[in-house]
């Protein structure tokens, strides 16, 4: 299976678009290397803004660039943009309704052994509570390229979180993505797994494992956390058991969003799989996933437990 980085797909696509649309800007906070924006900075220096290690300032500057009629993408570690500059995202971007895209890279636990200061595991909860902010967690590089094309043409503020390392490609260039519309990857009647970001691949792995045991699950890629695809959630509830899986705290993330819908519109048995209320276990992404049951085996186990009850 082909593996590639989502951040690399984003920056390559943004660079290609920005060569044609001179209003597209990239901002970094001493993060051009880690975001993979070096080529952008070298080839389009007049559309690149280095802000130094100052995330609050970077988000404010981006709002000002938008005020000047430009289309800025602020790019850096998700952990800092979702926390250090949260108030700038709230006041200068969300409430002021400025066309600023916040691009959080190396999100979730993908900084691995760098530890919890560098993990971003509350960002979905925070960003989706802000009025008008769109929130996306792409699951692979192909989807990210399509999402970048959408973001470059949209006038709405948005937050995007992606990981760091290469991840398996789930989609092909023929696949089509619409904000507000989840992708149903697998159709099974026994249970439904709704996942986002890197968890989507592991959900398909879980489906393969369960298939061998005669359990058939539906898998939804809810890359579009906000706007959320309520129709897909209602359809998933038709199986009788919904498991949400996310690389995020179990509070206020994808599971919370799905529970908000189902508890009010179609109470359904569900379980929220994510990172528990503790200082997170440290290791490589896959090691952390395995520790918390966020890999194929762990997700399959959670489905079997859910079906027993």
């Amino acid at each position: 299976m082909t593996k590639s980085t989502v951040r690399g797909a984003f920056t390559a696509e943004l660079l290609a678009l920005a060569k044609k649309d001179r209003s597209l800007y990239a901002l970094a906070t001493d993060s051009r290397g880690s975001v993979t924006l070096t080529a952008f900075a070298d080839e389009l220096p007049s559309q690149f803004v280095e802000c130094g290690i100052a995330e609050q300032d970077a988000v404010g500057i981006a709002a000002g660039l938008a005020n000047a009629g430009l289309r800025p993408f602020v790019c850096g570690p998700a952990c800092f943009y979702s926390m250090r500059s949260a108030e700038q995202v709230k006041a200068d971007v969300s409430y002021s309704h400025m066309n600023v895209k916040i691009i959080g890279v190396s999100g979730g636990v993908s900084y691995g052994a760098l530890g919890s200061t560098h993990h971003s595991t509350q960002d979905i909860a925070l960003m989706r509570a802000l009025p008008g902010m769109e929130v996306y967690l792409p699951s692979d590089a192909v989807q990210m390229r399509a999402l970048t094309r959408y973001l470059a043409s949209s006038n709405e503020p948005a937050y995007v979180r992606m990981g760091r390392g290469p991840v398996p490609e789930i989609y092909t260039e023929k696949d089509f993505f619409t904000p507000g519309k989840a992708v149903k990857l697998l159709d099974g009647k026994d249970a439904a797994v709704i996942a986002c970001g890197e968890m989507v691949y592991w959900a398909t792995e879980a489906a393969r494992i369960l298939n061998e045991k005669g359990i058939h699950i539906s898998v939804y890629d809810m890359f579009t956390i906000k706007p959320l695809d309520e129709e897909a959630i209602m359809e998933a509830a038709g199986t009788g058991f919904v498991l949400t899986v996310e690389e995020h705290a179990v509070y206020g993330g994808l599971g919370g969003a799905v529970a908000e819908v189902l508890s009010q519109k179609k109470p359904t048995r569900m379980r929220i799989l994510g990172l528990p209320d503790e200082k997170v276990y440290t290791g490589k992404s896959e090691e952390v996933f395995r520790h918390y049951g966020l890999d194929g085996e762990g997700i399959a186990k959670a489905v079997r437990e859910g079906l027993k009850k």
């Binding site: 130094g52 500057i61 709002a63 000002g64 000047a68």
Partner: protein, 275 residues
């Protein structure tokens, strides 16, 4: 416009701002009064803005970073014709867009401000955007002196100098007071002008309640290659005999007698919010 005409407008603006605060029983009286002369000079003389075209790309940009001093800002925007004067009567009322901090649903207001330390970074972005795209507009931002304790101010100060934004004017309304008392007792600024100079800005100081001094500053030749900072020495509560220099007037509301006393001191007979 000459200094005397501007002073008359500022007196009327103060009376209107105080009436808004009185009517709503809420507001930030002290800082509103200290900043009124700066706002008056900018909106009636210095800045290129067209109330009929609030989104004109060529407009000068203004950011009220000390957003709590919004009352004279709204009064001026209404008087200039950005929105109906009658809306000033809805200040801080349920459902009004004329709320207690600048709201960019109001024509003429660029972004929502009031969380301190936000205005300068946005102003840096607006000024940098103009530089990068060859737009000729200028960018103005007004900050408070208490606000200077916010770290994000200094992040933006560095960026403004780094990008040599000589199209950017930051005014610090240095009234020497903040909500808890004298700024020197809350978080001492010491030589504020020296701090801005050390951050690479072209710094001047002037009496921020003296129209001629403000006119002289904005009409002077300004250095190229550096952003500009005016430390405007002001009096908190300026123009109100009962409030001048008194920290408790940060957000105290005048009673009926004080409102009349203020009108007399300002030489304003009455205030109405008719269109």
């Amino acid at each position: 416009m000459n200094a005397n005409e501007l002073a008359r407008i500022a007196a009327r603006t103060r009376a209107e701002a105080l009436t808004m605060i009185h009517n709503a029983s809420t507001g930030h009286t002290g800082g509103a009064m200290s900043a009124t002369d700066i706002l008056t000079v900018l909106y009636y003389d210095v800045m290129n803005v067209d109330p009929k075209r609030p989104d004109d790309p060529k407009r000068d940009r203004f950011f009220m970073s000390k957003g709590h001093s919004c009352e004279p800002y709204y009064a001026i925007l209404a008087d200039r014709g950005f929105f109906p004067r009658s809306e000033l009567a809805t200040f801080s009322q349920a459902g009004s867009r004329i709320i207690g901090h600048p709201n960019n649903k109001v024509p003429g207001v660029e972004v929502c401000t009031g969380a301190l330390g936000h205005g300068l970074p946005v102003a840096v972005g607006a000024a940098l955007g103009a530089k990068r795209t060859g737009q000729k507009y200028k960018t103005y931002v007004v900050m408070g002196d208490g606000e200077q304790a916010e770290g994000s101010v200094w992040e933006a100060a560095m960026a403004g100098a780094n990008y040599k934004l000589d199209n950017l004017f930051a005014v610090v309304d240095q009234n020497g007071l903040q909500i808890s008392g004298p700024t020197k007792n809350v978080m001492a600024l010491d030589d504020l002008a020296a701090k801005w100079r050390a951050f690479g800005w072209d710094v001047c100081e002037a009496d921020g309640n003296d129209m001629q001094a403000l006119l002289d500053y904005f009409h002077a030749e300004h250095k190229q290659g550096k952003p500009h900072c005016l430390i405007a020495h002001t009096v908190k509560g300026k123009g109100l005999p009962f409030a001048e220099g008194k920290p408790e007037w940060h957000h105290k509301v005048p009673n009926d007698e004080q409102l009349q006393e203020a009108y007399r001191a300002l030489g304003v007979e009455e205030v109405d919010f008719n269109d």
